[in-house]
Symmetry: C3
Subunit: 249 residues, 3 copies
């Protein structure tokens, strides 16, 4: 699917942070398996185990990459358990990730999903704690270098299709302190902790200073913002926190 | 201007942080437009909208890159307004950035400045909020891959030449808590908040422990330091904060 | 030592952080000296001057990189003094770093160590404060592009072989707040500050919630952990802090 002349591209999203050696170790493995691949970090600052936050950020980014990019997403609270590892093709892109609902949350059109079971691709012995290094990185690197998807393992239909978190919650807090929820609409406003927000704005400029307001973000989700300040700090918000949707009467 | 055998190089400086998808999205666009370009991050930890801090860090770094490097700097409080987008050539390097004074602060010798107006290079539709993705990244990628500067848009002379911040202030706080001001001299000392600093040192080793002192940094700016500790924490300093210059009598 | 078809790879570990321009400047220099090299960050979040922490992270990562990788490690409290700069070959990898004990802590098998003295490789003038840019980056880039090790400077045997920190201490605190010590065994438990930890676990799952426990990490070091929470926060721990080993009776 990759245009000729374009080097293989791999994007990388994890909840590993950048203080430790985990991300670098995955990149070392990729450099061994597919030396010509270029790796682009999406983010490693996903809050630990926050699958919905990871899906939100990857969902915002993947369409802007070249066709043929292999997107690795490792937010994997079930590492070491029997959860499967997946490789999915959709819209000319490939996605390599654990089968924990992350793929469902991406809402990819007509995804062809395979279970990664070809152990000849893995680093041996496979650890119980670091499938990013032992399974996801080498599988993605082989795909980036041209391995056909069907060689990864069998096509499956019974992957984890139900989004893992459907209750109203905070998906993401951006650098500016804007609080992104997973709500598409909130006619009566929302409550986070013991603070109610029901003022609305369609542009940042129309909001009064110092007052929390609701705005529809570029991805269609309701966000809580505060002009020139951090809504998250005022709300004492954290990723994954529950949100109450108020009655719209 | 690029030496043969050197791949196109793009440096990237923003105030976007690394928690969000913005930087990755720009890199995805670059990978599409100029697949052979290598992207090197300068920093994404510029405090939001602190143009002078961005110019300071880019000013410290750009000369160490290969000739022909395209440096993208997106600190852009005016995004969505009528401010122009610029591409400038100086000393064999190219600079792609908003017309908000950042270029003036770089004090480039004999810059040839063009207004980026060739809409065929842009991602369409151009958003009101993310010109980094829609204008700066693709324009820079086309330049890195060899587009002549005059194809970007007309040469102009009326770019924003006045540095936007001329009052004494804090330009940058480095990892070690050294406080970099925009002052070239401060014969009578300086005051930050209600703390006066007028002790001086020419080397770190000559400063007494526990006492704030002034030292001339490698870029010629006056810095406030504290041996083996954070001057910024003791001063409760923040980037952009005003500094008072004391009478030198 | 590099496999044909593999581009030169350089890994980079420093205590410079990512707010400043230092890491980018080193990458700019590398791009000039060895344009085809790919640079992979290991971490720049080493606590300032914590040599043992740097050795721990590099020790966890380097084996996962391709043979022929040049690993630069700059944690350099002695910059500007007479300490030597080293280039070492071991197990098909190269290491470029200051002679301050970091190499000893890596415990490389049968390392061939050279003193970097070929000044024709350096950026001139060499500063007193930034050998990462002026010596380590260009030396490593020349090696990555094929300069034979013996051209770097004379082979030496009197490098700093004694690990600089041998007392029991905290090596690293990972993103999840696990506290890694430099102890291989602690039969009677350990004390950090005024908190004693002597409960043990062999798997995370067997530890009771809310109680600090000792576990052997993947590198063989004793770690202090807290299920689903930060042991470091509860201990108020910091990298480099002393640890008391309790009597095992």
């Amino acid at each position: 699917m990759r245009a000729s002349g374009t080097p293989p591209t791999i994007s990388l999203l994890t909840d590993f942070g950048t203080r430790d050696h985990y991300v670098a170790t995955m990149k070392g493995v990729i450099a061994q398996v597919c030396p010509e691949a270029r790796v682009i970090d999406i983010s490693h600052e996903i809050e630990p185990y926050q699958i919905a936050q990871g899906a939100y950020l990857l969902g915002q980014a993947w369409r802007w990459f070249p066709k043929g990019t292999v997107h690795i997403a490792v937010i994997d609270p079930g590492v070491g358990s029997a959860r499967r590892a997946l490789a999915a093709a959709a819209d000319g892109h490939l996605f390599v990730l654990p089968d924990n609902g992350l793929l469902a949350l991406l809402e990819l059109p007509q995804a062809e999903v395979h279970s990664i079971e070809n152990e000849s691709l893995f680093l041996r012995p496979v650890s119980n704690t670091f499938h990013g290094r032992d399974i996801f990185a080498p599988a993605a690197a082989h795909l980036a270098c041209g391995l056909p998807l069907e060689r990864i393992g069998p096509r499956i239909d019974d992957w984890h299709r139900a989004p893992p978190f459907e209750s109203p919650q905070i998906l993401h807090i951006d650098r500016f302190g804007n609080v992104v929820t997973n709500l598409r609409a909130a006619p009566g406003g929302i409550r986070i902790g013991d603070i109610t927000v029901n003022r609305r704005a369609t542009h940042y400029a129309e909001a009064p200073a110092g007052e929390l307001f609701l705005i529809e973000g570029s991805a269609g989700y309701i966000e809580v913002s505060l002009r020139a300040s951090s809504a998250a700090a005022q709300l004492n918000a954290r990723v994954g926190q529950s949100v109450s949707v108020l009655d719209g009467r």
